[in-house]
């Protein structure tokens, strides 16, 4: 096995072992669940942002679409939660297909338009007129399928799926083409890269991961409101975790999430009054001294980061 592929395989294996063992050592299962959720989201965002350079500020829209897609499949179609998670992924992919025209925009315009799309979806879902379907602002309640252990292992499977997808993309010709798009869509197109098709595939893969994660999250907490799953904080955290770790790698978003989400929980509990100050300072230091994330430190030492 080539060296690069070896490290790409190692990351999912270590992740699997870690999150399979951790619940036996640390009994706050939901914290571990959240950690996996943000890691999966970070990988999903990495696929569209890290590999192609398009940063969707409204990435949380896919997450919310997944949560509601899964919940509706359970409520109306009486699907098992495992199938409902897939339905959540499908709902997010559907949303992603609808939003493909956003790629007519670029840079900050694309980012802001995706944010507007996520907000629009939030208001549609929360509209009292849709109460028979989405429960509107009154929120979703799924006590009949509440199964934290089932949701935990499902989220672990989603995380592994996202790591494998991300790793494969990074090492494949597809990933190389995406990198070319990131550097210059025009040059990539002139070199024979089908920019529209490849960019759309990565967009839909990214949406799928967020949708699966959203559906599993909705299943785990089983009672949620539109603002819970469309909260911009989820998207902002994901973006910060990816940036902190380093975009365009599999390991970077994992490390970013591990450190920052760990810090978030540690400071939030030990010294909550300093939480925002500490977090803000950390991000300022990152922007000033490590604009390419933590993995850039390893790269400076000549290490090839997976």
């Amino acid at each position: 096995m080539p060296k690069g592929w070896r490290s790409t395989t190692l990351i999912p294996v270590i992740t699997l072992l870690a999150f399979a063992v951790l619940p036996h050592l640390y009994n706050n299962q939901f914290l571990l669940f959240n950690m996996m959720m943000y890691m999966a989201l970070a990988q999903g965002l990495n696929i569209i942002y890290g590999y192609t350079g398009y940063l969707p500020f409204g990435y949380v829209g896919f997450f919310g679409a997944g949560a509601y897609g899964g919940a509706l499949a359970i409520t109306f179609l009486h699907w098992s939660p495992y199938l409902a998670v897939l339905a959540g992924g499908g709902a997010a992919v559907l949303l992603g297909m609808i939003l493909i025209p956003l790629f007519r925009l670029s840079g900050a315009y694309f980012s802001i338009a995706s944010l507007a799309a996520a907000e629009a979806l939030y208001y549609v879902v929360a509209n009292p007129g849709l109460e028979p379907l989405t429960q509107g602002p009154y929120g979703i309640s799924l006590p009949q399928v509440y199964d934290p252990n089932g949701a935990y292992w499902t989220m672990l499977a989603i995380l592994l799926f996202s790591l494998i997808i991300s790793g494969v993309i990074r090492r494949s010709r597809f990933g190389l083409a995406l990198s070319a798009i990131r550097e210059s869509p025009l040059s990539a197109s002139m070199s024979g890269v089908n920019v529209v098709k490849l960019r759309s595939i990565s967009w839909l893969l990214s949406a799928l991961i967020a949708g699966l994660a959203g559906a599993a999250f909705g299943w785990y907490i089983s009672v949620f409101y539109p603002e819970t799953v469309f909260g911009l904080g989820i998207g902002v955290f994901t973006i910060v975790f990816v940036l902190f770790g380093g975009i365009g790698t599999v390991l970077g978003p994992m490390i970013g999430t591990l450190i920052l989400y760990g810090v978030y929980n540690y400071i939030g509990i030990s010294t909550p009054e300093y939480f925002q100050l500490a977090y803000g300072l950390l991000i300022m230091i990152l922007v000033l001294f490590l604009p390419n994330g933590l993995v850039s430190l390893a790269r400076k030492r000549g290490l090839n980061v997976a």
């Binding site: 009292p128 009154y138 909550p272 939480f275």
Partner: protein, 413 residues
């Protein structure tokens, strides 16, 4: 004879050993776990609520602790509280931590339905009673969920809030009512109940629409409401909605004979300062403690007057409904442990049923149904009226609670 004596001695020794065992196994402190929002959307109300609970714990510890019937003695209270920053994902993780790592004996929810919602499945899973302070969503208490691990300690479920208001509007003969509400669970369920109740009473709901929670400009919608020629406009929303609505109404030049908004009942001073005296004058709202004062009826814990005096003496800020709700939760926990014969969650929940409907605290009658929803308290209608001490929100309906005569139709601007 000898055999009888020996049997008695054996039984007595066994009973002594058992009771000593019970003493020995009693915890050194009663851990009460809760969350508060130190920042974010719910910070203001949540920290006030937490202040009320902290004050109760301080008072109880000053008395030597909480009397726990299961152990027959007083045990000090230890509050374990984390800041969830108004985030539901963080709140879920922290509730989990309180249950699984801190292993609290009593679990108390954060403020409001959104931050309470994530605690409900966790409490059910771990079979620990959730003392729900202000999470009033009706969906927490559905009979089909068969969830016995929740007790709403204070306010009634939000769908019950406007029932007195509907009767009031019927009594004053209002026939054309406009209802505007923000798209959230709390506001929407109040609007729905008011609409249903009014229709049952023969009134005509001439306007019924929702707006997003983030709405900050009501100018256009106010003119649309005016076009439906209502006698009463009821706006349901969070504080920011009420404030923007009243400010826009004041500057619009429009006139409605009655305007109702809910939040002065919860944070009267906040709303008054934000909109000014002119805009809040004659506005109708609910009335809840401390704006309505239960003193004579109270048979458990201090009266509101006594509580306010003690709270002020300890350096507490102005008492509002959230503070009362936090303190009241402490009282319900206190009564639960003083009643429960064994120190198990099931016994505690059953104990709540035994005193439900029998105790009257500074927050009102404590009465819960089988699902744990509060049914004892109701919210009278009040109106902001001039008094020698300035503008005050005073109860005006029902008449048994009224301390002032309502002004309707309200004078023009």
């Amino acid at each position: 004879m000898l055999r009888k004596t020996l049997a008695r001695m054996t039984l007595g020794t066994a009973a002594l050993a058992f009771s000593l065992g019970a003493w020995a196994s009693s915890p050194s402190t009663i851990k009460i776990g809760t969350l508060y929002a130190g920042s974010g959307n719910f910070a203001q109300a949540s920290t006030r609520q937490y202040d009320g609970l902290k004050f109760w714990a301080k008072q109880i510890n000053a008395e030597g602790g909480l009397f726990v019937k299961a152990y027959g003695k007083r045990i000090p209270v230890q509050l374990v509280a984390y800041n969830d920053q108004s985030s539901t994902t963080l709140a879920a993780s922290l509730y989990n931590r309180l249950i699984t790592q801190d292993q609290v004996n009593i679990l108390v929810a954060d403020y409001g339905s959104v931050l309470t919602s994530v605690a409900i499945p966790l409490a059910l899973e771990h079979h620990i009673v959730l003392f729900d302070e202000t999470g009033t969503s009706g969906k927490f208490f559905k009979p089909e969920d068969k969830n016995r691990y929740i007790v709403l300690t204070g306010l009634p479920t939000s769908s019950q809030w406007p029932k007195v208001l509907a009767n009031f509007l019927h009594t004053v003969g209002s026939k054309r009512i406009a209802i505007l509400y923000a798209a959230n669970d709390w506001s929407g369920s109040q609007a729905e109940t008011l609409k249903t109740s009014l229709k049952a009473l023969g009134a005509n709901v001439v306007f019924y629409e929702s707006v997003p929670n983030s709405t900050s400009s009501y100018s256009t919608i106010l003119h649309r409401i005016a076009a439906s020629k209502p006698e009463v406009v009821a706006e349901f929303g969070y504080s920011n909605n009420d404030i923007a609505f009243l400010q826009n109404y004041e500057s619009s030049g429009l006139y409605f004979p009655m305007v109702f908004v809910p939040n002065p009942a919860l944070h009267y001073e906040v709303v008054r300062k934000a909109v000014g005296d002119q805009a809040i004058r004659h506005v109708f709202s609910y009335v809840a403690p401390p704006l309505i004062r239960y003193n004579k009826e109270v048979n458990y814990g201090p009266t509101l007057d006594a509580f306010e005096a003690a709270y002020a003496k300890s350096g507490g800020k102005n008492v509002d409904l959230s503070t009362v709700a936090g303190y009241n939760t402490g009282l319900i926990v206190q009564k639960t442990l003083a009643t429960s014969a064994t120190f198990t969650q099931e016994a505690m929940r059953n104990a709540v049923d035994t005193f439900s409907g029998k105790i009257f605290t500074l927050d009102g009658l404590f009465q819960v149904n089988h699902e744990g929803a509060q049914t004892g308290e109701s919210l009278p209608v009040g109106q902001v009226l001039p008094t020698p001490h300035g503008l005050q929100l005073l109860p005006v309906f029902p008449l048994k609670s009224a301390v002032a005569k309502y002004v309707y139709p309200t004078p023009g601007k």
